[in-house]
Amino acid sequence: MEEKQAKTAPSKKAVETAKEVWPYVKREYAAAHQAKAEGKPVVWSCAVFPKELYWAMDVFPVFPEHFAVITGMMRRGGTKDESVEKEAVRFARIAESAGFASYLCGYARSSIGHALTGNLADAPLGGLPKPDMIITTSFVCDLRGKWLQYLAQKLNVPFFVLDIPERGCDIPFFQPGLRTALLPFYNKIKRGERDLFFSPPADHELKYTQRQWEEVAKFITNVTGHKYDQDRFNEVMDLSYRTNELRLEILELRKAVPAPMGVADGLSTMYPGLYTTGTQRAHDFYVKLRDELKERVAKGLGIVPEEKFRLLWMGLAPWFNMSLFNYFEKYGGAFVFEPIYNMCPFPPRMPEDPFKELSIRTLQQSGGLIAPSMIGQAVSTIVNAVHEYKVSGAVLFYLITCRPVVYPTVEIARVLQEDFGIPSVPLECDLIDERTYSEAQTFARFDAFAEQLLKHAV
């Protein structure tokens, strides 16, 4: 029986380099399978865990989190037949039958369901190679530790969690009331020095974190026999640092009007930096992207012929329907920036003690520089981004199953409107489980929002 349903589709790319991401992704998954076939150790890890140590210790990292994104986009066997549900939905059903609630993170349900099938290969891109170990972290959300621990239990492999306790909002910059006053100062500081606004990690936090990083290296050695080598680690950290500098340059280029690159491309081009940091291929990708954006800025090329209003996207993406990032283009609206996972300055290189450097970086990230988890940081990140990228409205992803993203949304909407007169509109659904998506509701809200912004722009 033929099925007709709400249309979900990938986004239209404006930037040429963004079109290289999908082949890049496929190569990574192929390389992971290849590594496994050659007997190289494979680790399952998570997005916010710094990757450099894996490359330095010759362990191939694979990310169930990213794989869940793939399952949200693809159907079984790679078919385009829309009557076949997306793999994320198939896997989520399996997890839910086992007793996992539907309010749990979509990534977790897809990933757990996939593992529960007992056949890791029966999934897009050949599935995931079975891991030799699983390493995760506790910060950003509770789930990424516990879900990966559950997978380690099911797959019966060694497990390690890098515990980074969530930092609070005790930094004056994030205190309610102080935010607005400091805004002009924040915008004058060069991007590379913005870490000065965050309180430095306390000694005991640094000590605890560094102890654990050293344990990660020992753990990898115990499981694989591969030894830690500081010179090799420094090589990888150098490359990662230089790649991050490129990404910071790209963030500056994206401030141009018209925006040379939008969110559709931004969320796609974040992949090499987020998942393959510390590799030459990631570095080279951003050189290309940076060069293309320089050219686009020089030529005044934008996402839409004429920018009538500029939008910010808050949160992760509805991966099953990335075409939403092109939705406002028919009104002349462009999604110009997405703060999520966008790099901020790394601490200066410390080749004599790279674990200390990595610990400082991890704690800064925990403080909100990569995926702001605490409310104060999350609100301030959006407020700063709105001003930097000259945005007149924001779409806030009320990710109903992603707690760290959804928790600050109400505060963000309130602060943007009350303090700065910037309107926002919510999109309520899951990251990858399209059963939660209401096209009718979404389009109605977006259309009304566009009308509001156009009226304001006149």
């Binding site: 099925e3 007709k4 349903q5 059903r93 839910e96 039958s97 939660t436 209401s438 009718a440 509701q441």
Partner: protein, 253 residues
């Protein structure tokens, strides 16, 4: 021994009069009075049909949402227990009962003798229940029998992909505006209900035999969809609305 099972549901009261495992008479009475009065009336109608009297009844067991309001029952038992007993009597073997009513749907894993082994339900949300079908009927301005008939004639399914009944209403309207045929829209609604029923079923654990009862079981389209998806035969009793009342009549303290 003469026993009576009274199932006080959201919209109707069902009564079964049972003697030595034989049904003497039954009632399915839609009522708007309070549960106690309604139960009394329904029982009286049943007794009249069976040509017998109240004082002959040795045991009255009430079940359903309003079971505690039946002042004259000797025992109250939950729908899970009663659906299990009723299904076991009809089918004669271990099974999973799927009971789709107006107020909720439940799945009960039934062992030998009608013993409940496990159960799952979805009563908070309207999805997968008779209430959801009723909302759909109101939106389309047709009755349930017509919805089922039209769904059976569809050659496509206008999917109602969202899990929330509130959103589903706007999704159905959206499907109408997009110009899908009424048959395909009805098929989409039945498909959505079947999906939710399957989710509840899988949480209880699916036995080889599935026994489908309750108001929702009157839909042939939903039954066929379940069969197709499970790859198994679904047993639907002749009187799907009466299984729980029958089970109640079988309960002993």
């Amino acid at each position: 021994m003469l026993s009576a099972g009274i199932d006080v549901g959201q919209h109707a009261i069902k009564v079964v009069l049972l003697e030595e495992n034989i049904v003497l008479a039954y009632q399915n009475m839609v009522t708007e009075v309070d549960a106690d009065t309604g139960a009394r009336q329904a029982l009286e109608n049943t007794l009249k049909e069976a040509n017998t009297s109240f004082d002959r009844i040795q045991r009255i067991v009430s079940t359903g949402l309003g079971r505690k309001e039946v002042s004259f029952s000797h025992l109250q038992r939950t729908q899970e227990t009663c659906a299990a007993r009723g299904a076991y009597l009809v089918l004669g073997k271990a099974c999973t009962v799927l009971d789709g009513g107006a107020g909720g749907c439940r799945a009960v894993k039934v062992g030998h003798g009608g013993k409940v082994l496990d159960f799952a339900s979805n009563s908070k949300c309207a999805s997968g229940t008779g209430s959801f079908l009723q909302i759909a009927c109101e939106v389309l301005q047709i009755d349930l029998a017509k919805l089922d008939m039209l769904a059976g004639q569809a050659d496509g399914i206008a999917k109602v992909s969202t899990t929330c009944a509130v959103f589903a209403e706007s999704a159905i309207i959206s499907n109408v505006h997009r110009g899908f045929s009424i048959e395909d829209i009805c098929a989409g609604i039945c498909d959505s209900v079947a999906t939710r029923l399957l989710e509840v079923l899988s949480r209880a654990g699916i036995e080889k035999d599935v026994f489908f009862c309750g108001g929702v079981a009157q839909s042939k389209t939903i039954t066929r969809t379940l069969e197709r998806r499970l790859g198994a035969t679904i047993h639907v009793p002749t009187y799907p609305l009466l299984t729980t009342a029958l089970g109640a009549a079988l309960c002993i303290s």
